[in-house]
């Protein structure tokens, strides 16, 4: 089994990751400049522009980029096509820009439909690439299954988004489809982000903290629960049958299984002291508790804020430096190994930026969620400002990791874990 063969060209995943960090900074800046967006009606064009900069521009970009790297590792095979990865990037970039501009300029349906269709095309190419990669897998497990399903749900999310946009302008379509907004949300937040984070997290968290012997049974069950929940949601959307509560129960079961999985991995870890990014990743699932709470008792926008700004963003930011650091290390220093001193992976990142990102984002996320509950402009302003500082800190860190001078002359440092 030659694992060297699964090396993916650096810029295939890296351009997604850098674009993702830039999008996070853009979304956070927009919020900091207009924190009232956190207080007002959540479906205004301006608010939807910010949300889609976050979901399409940041979360999906990072997810798609990371999966180009992770799927071959998880499945112990080669990426089917690096060229298709490049095609995906440009289609997704153009599509995301179209959708965000379509919202930012006042809900221009033709721009939303065009951008959304481009994004769907890009994600179809991605889904095909991942599916072909999975066909040559030499290892099939629950992690690969969860991530493959997340890739498929991402395409479905974008397609559902196009339907949402079109159904607002074409009454006949709205009559035929009902309201696909909830399905679009469910596919995106649970089918795509939750499943990808649960799957990749099981593998990566276990690998980074040296946690051995954690069964994949919970991951397999939670993947099944997400499938059931989303199937019920789809049936309710298209038939009108009252299945929302059952869908919610299935998704809550998936969340509980995920929390148990993370706890099991963390409890069995050998690497006791976690770096700040990993602490963010471990902290992120806690935000699923207010998500469930606000989903049950309201306000609903607080639930969306908790899962999107909290769980999804914290999880992705937590793993981001690890994934980009690994890619960069292989790209810049892999050829020097054994011939010259090379930095450790942890030495690629600047510690003070890690601290800045960690503290700003851990303080800002509860404030952003609380804004929806207490309706305070002051809380919104502080939360949005700190969130922007965290996002910019993460962006600078990303560029430092890829392009910075990592001071090879310095003496070997303590383990990155510290």
């Amino acid at each position: 089994m030659n694992l060297r063969a699964n090396a993916v060209p650096f810029w295939v995943p890296a351009r997604f990751l850098l674009t993702g960090a830039a999008s996070l900074a853009a979304a956070a800046t927009a919020l900091a400049l207009d924190p009232e967006l956190l207080l007002g009606y959540y479906a205004t064009p301006a608010a939807l522009a910010v949300v889609h900069t976050l979901t399409l521009g940041f979360a999906s970009m990072v997810l798609v980029g990371a999966m180009h790297q992770l799927m071959p590792v998880v499945l112990v095979t080669q990426l089917h096509s690096a060229r298709l990865g490049t095609v995906t990037y440009w289609l997704l970039l153009a599509g995301s820009a179209g959708v965000v501009i379509g919202f930012a300029t006042g809900y221009r349906v033709w721009l939303l439909a065009t951008g959304g269709s481009l994004a769907v095309c890009g994600l179809l190419v991605f889904a095909y690439n991942v599916w072909r990669t999975s066909r040559s897998a030499t290892s099939r497990d629950a992690v690969g299954a969860a991530m493959l399903a997340a890739a498929m749900y991402l395409t479905a999310t974008a397609a559902a988004g196009v339907l949402v946009a079109l159904s607002r302008r074409i009454p006949a379509l709205a009559d035929a489809l009902g309201n696909p907004t909830l399905l679009h949300l469910g596919l995106g937040l649970f089918g795509t982000f939750f499943l990808a984070i649960a799957g990749a997290g099981h593998k990566l968290l276990g690998m980074f903290v040296l946690s051995h012997g954690v069964s994949q049974k919970r991951l397999r069950l939670l993947t099944g629960a997400v499938h059931v929940g989303l199937a019920l949601l789809a049936i309710q959307t298209f038939t009108g049958l009252p299945l929302l509560e059952f869908a919610g129960l299935a998704l809550i079961a998936a969340v509980i299984l995920f929390l148990l999985d993370v706890i099991a991995i963390v409890r069995k870890r050998v690497r006791r002291k976690l770096g700040l990014p990993l602490r963010l990743f471990v902290l992120a699932p806690v935000l699923l508790v207010p998500t469930a709470l606000f989903s049950a008792v309201g306000p609903a926008p607080a639930a969306v804020a908790a899962i999107l700004f909290g769980f999804v963003t914290l999880s992705i930011v937590g793993m981001y430096s690890k994934i980009l650091g690994f890619l960069t290390w292989q790209h810049r220093y892999g050829a020097l190994v054994g011939r010259a001193r090379v930095p450790l992976l942890g030495e690629l990142a600047l510690g003070w930026l890690d601290r800045c990102t960690f503290w700003c984002i851990t303080v800002s996320v509860p404030l952003v969620v609380a804004t929806r509950v207490v309706a305070s402009p002051l809380v919104a302003t502080i939360g949005a400002t700190l969130f922007a500082v965290a996002a910019w800190s993460q962006l600078v860190q990303a560029f430092w990791i890829v392009f910075g001078d990592h001071s090879l002359e310095a003496p070997a440092a303590e383990p990155a874990a510290a």
Partner: protein
């Protein structure tokens, strides 16, 4: 050349993610020195570890630099699977396990 010299050299091969050398991580399963040839059998902390090729190359180049060595064979095996119990006390200390 004694095997201890080979192990000492492998102490310079650092896992770039963990910052601990392969010997203290318990990843070196065996070394055999036959005349001017070295055969090193190692494992990795996780099957599918993306550092596979890099660590293998690091071991190869490090051992090839030893004086008098003509041929180095690095074997990566998964059986027995590595477990944290294989680490030395020094390795555990550096990961804050003890």
């Amino acid at each position: 050349m004694p095997a201890s010299q080979v192990l000492e050299a492998l102490g310079d091969v650092i896992d770039p993610e963990l910052g601990v050398d392969l010997v203290n991580l318990g990843l070196v399963y065996s070394v055999a020195v036959i005349a001017r040839n070295i055969e090193a059998t190692i494992s990795l902390t996780t099957p599918g570890c993306p550092m596979h090729g890099t660590i293998e190359k690091d071991v190869l180049l490090t051992l090839e630099r030893l004086p008098g060595v003509e041929f180095v064979d690095v074997k990566i095996v998964w059986d027995p699977p590595w477990s944290p119990e294989m680490m030395t006390d020094e390795g555990r200390r550096r990961l804050h396990w003890i």
